[in-house]
């Protein structure tokens, strides 16, 4: 399995700075950068740093967080050029020299300072048919889904996504092609393609095809590398490529090689 960024565990030693050392923090604001200085502390996270700056130095700094324990994904931003959860990023692990550079999540419109508008991210989620489609007629009985079946395993591999936007920010294809649906939306679509109860598969496969769809993924694997939940959108998207290819070939064959009645 592709692991997420190696983050030091609490028992692992990191390069903690000497007592009294200071940290220079460059934060992207208003088209430029603003520099702050905070004291370094043991086991300090980037969220600790941003919070200290906002509460004690500049209350006008805008940023997001909620659970602060790596469950909600609200605190995602670019830390030294990479999208990360600030609550789960130790300063000692990522500081370059004595400095940190903080920017809002890439590929999304900036509301203010470090807070981005997640609307385009969720719009693409919907555009990829990222919602369960029960169909017009309710099923007669409960669906039997064996946990070890290939379809359920495929769903399990991607179902833990919490829509934090880190993969979307990491994706170069999103940066190059603003229409591209992105790894999270496509990963969710794949979990639904493998949902044996879903009745909207044809429309979903069409929705994830095309220049904005799965065929535009070039397997950079930045999404899989950066996902804090250790999901692998690259392989979900590969599954969509296979599924859409097979469906297209079937349609092509049916249209051109239909046996006369």
């Amino acid at each position: 399995m592709n692991a997420p960024f190696p983050a030091p565990s609490p028992t692992e030693s990191t390069v903690d700075a000497a007592p009294g050392a200071m940290l220079t923090v460059r934060i992207r604001r208003d088209g430029g950068f603003q520099a702050f200085t905070v004291a370094r502390r043991p086991a300090q996270t980037v969220l600790d740093v941003v919070t200290e700056i906002q509460r004690e130095q500049d209350p006008t700094l805008a940023y997001r967080f909620a659970c602060r324990v790596g469950m909600c994904g609200s605190c995602a931003m670019m830390v030294n050029g990479r999208p990360r959860w600030t609550c789960r990023t130790r300063v000692a692990a990522v500081a370059e020299g004595d400095g940190l550079t903080l920017e809002p999540l890439r590929n999304l419109p900036v509301v203010k300072d470090l807070a981005v508008d997640m609307e385009p991210f969720f719009a693409k989620w919907t555009a990829a048919h990222g919602a369960f489609e029960p169909g017009a007629v309710p099923a007669d009985d409960f669906a039997v889904v064996a946990p070890e079946s290939p379809e359920r395993r495929a769903v399990d591999a991607g179902i833990e996504c919490i829509n934090c936007g880190v993969c979307y920010a990491a994706c170069d294809v999103v940066a190059w092609n603003p229409d591209y649906l992105g790894p999270a939306a496509l990963n969710r679509a794949w979990t639904l393609v493998n949902d044996v109860r879903d009745r909207g598969q044809d429309a979903r496969l069409a929705a994830v095809s095309g220049d904005a769809g799965c065929q535009s993924c070039h397997t950079h694997m930045s999404c899989t590398e950066h996902c804090p939940k250790a999901l692998a959108p690259t392989f979900a998207i590969a599954g969509l490529k296979r599924a859409t290819a097979r469906a297209a070939l079937r349609r092509f064959g049916a249209r051109h090689f239909r046996r006369p009645a």
Binding site: V173, W176, N177, S209, G210, D211, Q215, S216, H218, K241, T244, A245, A247, A248, L249, F252
Partner: protein, 109 residues
């Protein structure tokens, strides 16, 4: 790209993988000690197998390359839409014509 374009690109990729392996192997074998026209043509003149091989090779490349170019142009320049698609079709046709001409050239020479 559409699913069919994707299938075309990946399908021709497999064909090209085999053809390129054969082609590279031939080149590496042929280039030892220098390469003359006589040596190239001696191998391909009147050789129907080579003609068919190169014919398939050319058609596969003429399909594969423009689809790749389309992605590059769409993502790294502002060009997109029907004019880009048309231009890439033109590239495919030109490559096919030039390539089949070359395959014939070394067959009849």
């Amino acid at each position: 790209m559409s699913p069919l374009l994707y299938v075309a690109q990946r399908g021709t990729a497999v064909i090209l993988a085999v053809a390129v392996a054969v082609h590279l192997g031939t080149i590496l074998y042929a280039v030892r000690g220098g390469l003359t026209a006589g040596e190239i043509l001696g191998r391909t003149q009147g050789n129907l197998a080579f003609l068919v091989f190169y014919g398939i090779f050319v058609i596969a490349a003429a399909i594969h390359a423009p689809i790749g170019l389309r992605s590059i142009l769409r993502e790294w320049t502002r060009w997109r839409g029907r004019s880009l698609d048309g231009a890439m079709l033109g590239v495919a046709v030109i490559l096919a014509i030039l390539g089949l001409r070359a395959a014939l050239a070394v067959y009849v020479a």
